[in-house]
């Protein structure tokens, strides 16, 4: 039929075009329309046919108590066509017609509660009838149990709720009005979905059988779209409910001012501390970085060095102008040699003693040995020698003039850094621990020792007493020691020790003998 119309139209078009543009456009259009109408009327009146086969689209039960079926009519064949739905039911003899064609709209059939049976098969057919004939659709078998699809939930409302931590969106809805939830006939399950404004993806949430849901994942200032749907038992999901919109308000949480306050309060003591530190930076610096004592040369007056003229410099550098004559030392050496031969017990001492002479006087001066013998004398020496002989220990008071035999402990001496040092640093006064004596009082030539002026003071650069091995022997360390302490421990004054008590000298001597080392070693040349 359509082809006929088309053919006719084409013919008319050809007819017009053949005539060219002699007819004006409006007129041409009007002629075309008239032709078309004529043609269609002709076609209609020419062919009428029985109706086309309708198609059963499907059925649906919204609450498992009633159901509706829809069909699609086929062509009506040019004649008024009526449609009838017939059904057969399991366990029910006979064929029945649809009880209600109207309630559900056009081309539908509504089965009310009286006509609905669950768990039985229905076989449905639709028949289209017109004056020329009828057409029957294919049969459609169904069980109401299988076609359950509820309506969408109703009255979806969205509320902003404020909790302590963050606001959240509270969604609330109602079950579809036609479902019966009271009798337990159906159990409804819900699903929610949320979309951000300008977003594409939906986020879905399952709500179970609750009719409310809380969404915590919301950002302020954003518009959200929310939808909800439901399902009955094992049936199909309903359509999504209409869009419901909500805009989350911008908010300043209560915590922000609190945090500002806290940060300010904690900043105040911090700033205060910093101010204090800055104000007292000098003392802080002193505390944190204690000054490291710079190198100090004993007897050198730094001030004098800085300020004075050339003579002053000389004076500053050289405390004791009077150097001991070398000859005296040589004499000493000879004498000394003799002594050692008599001893016989110390074969190596000669060399060692020589070495000992190398040690500057200052070295000797530092020793408390001087406490022992204030005046050098042969007697003393002899005495010491005697005493020496009496002793079993290898350490002997070898000096008549109480110079120190440092060789007693070779290792100590050898380890000493024999550098040219100003031996006259002894002059240094430093409290009780400093041995003070003047160069004048050191008649080295006579006895090779120096008098102790203020013997109660000991150089603080003395070697440390390592241990006291016996009555006679005190072992010293190479390090600085306060020889004074040892003597003090013995309970006698420094000055008293040498002469009064014959034994004591041994102690002190041994002290010295055992390798007391001055931190200002003698120059090797001497």
């Amino acid at each position: 039929m359509d082809y006929l119309i088309y053919h006719k139209l084409m013919m008319s078009r050809l007819f017009f075009s053949a005539h060219g543009g002699t007819i004006c456009p409006t007129m041409r259009r009007g002629i075309r329309v008239a032709l078309f109408l004529l043609l269609s009327a002709a076609v209609e009146s020419n062919s009428m046919s029985p109706p086309g086969k309708p198609v059963l689209l499907g059925c649906r039960s919204p609450e498992k108590e009633t159901f509706t079926c829809w069909w699609e009519p086929g062509s009506d064949g040019g004649l008024p066509t009526t449609y009838h739905l017939y059904y057969e039911r399991e366990r029910l003899e006979g064929t029945y017609e649809c009880p209600d064609y109207r309630s559900a709209g056009r081309n539908s059939c509504f089965f009310d509660k009286n006509h609905t049976s669950i768990w039985v098969d229905y076989c449905l057919t639709v028949m289209a009838t017109n004056a020329l004939g009828n057409a029957t659709s294919d049969p459609f078998k169904m069980d109401v149990m299988e076609i359950v699809k509820p309506d969408a939930p109703e009255n979806l409302t969205l509320l902003m709720e404020k909790s302590e931590y963050s606001p959240y969106l509270h969604a609330r809805w109602e079950p579809p009005s036609n479902t019966d939830t009271k009798s337990g006939w159906v159990t409804i399950k819900y699903e929610l979905r949320v979309q951000q404004e300008n977003g594409i993806k939906w986020k879905e949430y399952t709500s179970g059988t609750q009719t409310h849901f809380s969404l915590h994942n919301v950002s302020p200032g954003v518009l959200y779209t929310v939808q909800v749907r439901c399902k009955l038992d094992h049936g199909s999901w309903s359509e999504w409910s209409n869009n419901t919109y909500v805009k989350i308000p911008n908010y300043l949480p209560n915590e922000v001012p609190l945090w500002i306050l806290v940060s300010i309060l904690s900043a105040i003591p911090f700033i205060t501390t910093v101010c204090i530190l800055v104000a007292k930076r000098k003392s802080v610096k002193l505390c944190v970085l204690p000054p490291v004592p710079g190198p100090k040369i004993r007897g050198v007056d730094a001030q004098l060095l800085k300020s004075g003229g050339p003579e002053d410099i000389d004076n500053a550098l050289i405390v004791n102008q009077r150097f001991p004559p070398m000859v005296a030392w040589k004499d000493q050496t000879e004498e000394y040699l003799i002594v050692t031969e008599n001893d016989g017990g110390l074969p190596t001492n000669s060399q060692k003693r020589k070495k000992s002479l190398i040690i500057p006087t200052a070295f000797h001066l530092d020793l408390e040995i001087h406490c022992k013998e204030s005046t050098p004398s042969q007697n003393d020496w002899e005495k010491s020698e005697e005493i020496n002989n009496e002793l079993d220990t290898p350490i002997k008071p070898f000096t008549n003039s109480s110079y120190v035999d440092i060789q007693r402990h070779v290792e100590n001496i050898q380890a000493v850094d024999v550098k040219q040092v100003d031996y006259s640093t002894v002059k240094e006064v430093n409290g009780e621990n400093v041995l003070i004596f003047k160069k004048d009082n050191v008649p080295l030539r006579s006895s090779g020792y120096m008098d102790v002026q203020e013997q109660e003071h000991i150089q603080k650069d003395y070697s440390r007493v390592k241990k006291v091995e016996s009555d006679n022997l005190v072992v010293l360390q190479k390090q600085i020691v306060s020889l004074d302490t040892h003597c003090r421990e013995k309970g006698y004054h420094f000055t008293d020790c040498p002469l009064q008590n014959p034994i004591k000298p041994h102690v002190c001597t041994e002290l010295i003998d055992s390798g007391y080392v001055d931190t200002t070693p003698a120059p090797p040349s001497m």
């Binding site: 039911r89 366990r91 768990w119 039985v120 038992d233």
Partner: protein, 228 residues
């Protein structure tokens, strides 16, 4: 040899002891009313459990049925007549909400039990016949077995519920649900053997849905407090 006999007898003794222990534990009666230290389940609780069980059973039967349809694709509209005959069709079941609500509690309980009893053998048989289908994977076979077990468990559960209802005086003693299950079987019980597997599944899917719905109706009628 005497040593052997001694050891064997010792082992036997030990086994006997253990077995007696186990059986004694198994045979210990579950709480009778309000025993000390014993947690008695409320009727509402029992109902909930039974309903959950039936829902799961129906879900499994649904899955199996759709799988069968996929594999065997029986035409939905074949043979226009509604000729499907489930072997349980002789059991009179309410086919709507009003009918179910109108039915007496005892009757409804009995209907449920009848249905469950009727499916015990067919499902067991079905599970074994599943092995013949090479297309089916083990998962489906497990489902069939699970289904079969569930019917059994559910029946016991419903019996307990009936017992409790009788104890509480909710239902009268007119129907004695503790009668032997065989008495509940429909007369044409042998018919199920002639049914095809697909039809069997279809019928069971329907019947499991019935059981679920009836239980829910019962619960909301008797103990409507929670979830009705």
């Amino acid at each position: 040899m005497p040593g052997n006999i001694k050891s064997v007898s010792f082992v036997v003794l030990v086994c006997l002891l253990l077995c007696s222990r186990l059986t004694s534990v198994g045979a210990a009666p579950i709480c009778t009313n309000a025993q000390t230290g014993c947690h008695v389940l409320s009727l509402s609780n029992l109902f909930d459990r039974v309903i959950q069980h039936s829902a799961r059973m129906h879900g499994i039967s649904n899955d199996l049925h759709s799988e069968f349809e996929q594999y065997f694709l029986p035409s939905r509209n074949q043979v226009g007549r509604v000729s499907r005959n489930c072997h349980t069709s002789t059991i009179l079941t309410p086919n709507g909400k009003e009918n179910a609500q109108r039915m007496a509690r005892e009757e409804l309980t009995e209907v449920i039990l009848k249905l469950l009893v009727a499916w015990r053998d067919p499902l067991w048989h079905f599970h074994h016949s599943m092995a013949h289908y090479d297309d089916f994977n083990n998962f489906s076979s497990n489902k069939a077995l699970e289904m079969s077990d569930m019917v059994h468990e559910l029946r016991k559960g419903v019996e307990k519920v009936a017992e409790k209802m009788q104890g509480l005086g909710i239902t009268s003693n007119t129907v004695n649900s503790l009668t032997s299950p065989e008495a509940l079987l429909p007369s044409k019980s042998a018919e199920w053997r002639q049914m095809k597997d697909y039809d069997l599944l279809y019928c069971f899917r329907r019947d499991s849905n019935k059981v679920q719905n009836y239980l829910k109706i019962l619960k909301c009628r008797i103990v409507p407090e929670h979830g009705c």
